[in-house]
Amino acid sequence: MNAADLALPMLVIRSGGPVNDPAAPSEPAVANPELVRLVALARTGDRAAFGQLLEDHLNAARRVALAAVGQAMDADEAVQDASLAAWTRLHALQDPAAFRGWFMRIVWRKAIDRRRSLRSWLDRFGVSSSDGRPMEYPAADPSPDALLISRELATAIGQVVKALPRRLRDPFLLAASGDHRYEDIAAMLGVPIGTVKWRISEARRLIRMKLDRLGHGDPR
């Protein structure tokens, strides 16, 4: 689905502050005894324990992969590849409490590998696209406390985000998922935290600048 195919005529977003602030992670960083127990069981070959770990982190992993590949189907396949790799390399995980970050890094690498192969495939067959296929827009979920934006603005934002350089778009979308702190994103991308913050800020500045050129500027 492309940005122009958004089903809703208006998008409804929550007002008051950022939707997803990476500085306020949804999951505490402290060691979770249940997580440690599940990892220990999965190391012994317990599929049920690994399945529980997978269930707990599946949607976050899919969002990470989606930020890289832009398509839900490709993201799910990347998560499947990453799950297989995590299952076979679970003995290499030093700290069971660090499973989440470790798994997300594997997911990100698998998704990046898939993105590169997709791009090479598209280049080989002469498909012209700035970065492979267009990103997919899932169905919106209107919230009651509303701040309305027009479909035209949403489409423009989607196109501008998609046109960002990958080094800016990747941390921006990872932060937008709301699942990760800056340090988690930095670990996934292999760059310092300061670089992540700068890239997210720069991405936002570029988006605003391009929207302004498109006539969507918001006078302050």
Partner: protein, 169 residues
């Protein structure tokens, strides 16, 4: 930085870009595709076996080193200067006079040689020491005034054999 309507819109659209719908079958499909991780699966125990074997070999080598009395020339801490002594000796040998080259050739009797040790022992009669050795004394006054100085041949009368009389055998 003050946020505005556009910032909220950007955040919301970015969130939509990474939103995923529930996929209940995905985790089941992933679990079904996982290989066996039981302790009996080869890919599971072979790396552990290799690591254990490597550790065992390392421990064995370490234990064997403790029984070393130094007779094999293994460098020990207290003999740390030995290599330097060897080095200096090697340098001196290199810079000094070259050592004479001694060629040794092992001579073996041919297979068709039928001579025995007894043949050699019996082929020659033992040479007896000379009974009388006469030497003519020459005084300085008897030396010739001119010409070369000639010495008469030494005659040993009682020598029973000469080199020509020895059998070729």
């Amino acid at each position: 930085m003050k946020r505005d309507h556009l910032d909220d819109a950007i955040d919301h659209v970015a969130t939509l870009l990474v939103r995923v719908e529930d996929n209940d079958g995905l985790s089941t499909r992933i679990l079904a595709s996982l290989p066996d991780r039981s302790p009996w699966a080869p890919h599971w125990w072979m790396p552990r076996l290799a690591i254990t074997a490597a550790l065992g070999i390392g421990v064995a080598l370490g234990v064997l080193r403790t029984f070393d009395d130094g007779s094999t020339g293994v460098l020990r801490t207290e003999n740390a200067s030995a290599p330097f002594v060897e080095f200096h000796a090697a340098v001196e040998r290199t810079t000094g006079e070259p050592a004479p080259i001694v060629r040794r050739t092992t001579v073996e009797r041919p297979q068709n040689d039928r001579r025995t040790i007894e043949d050699f022992e019996r082929s020659l009669v033992a040479i007896a020491p000379p009974a009388v050795l006469s030497l003519k004394s020459v005084s300085p006054s008897e030396l010739p005034g001119q010409g070369a100085l000639a010495v008469e041949p030494l005659a040993i009368a009682d020598l029973p054999l000469t080199a020509e009389a020895i059998s070729p055998r």
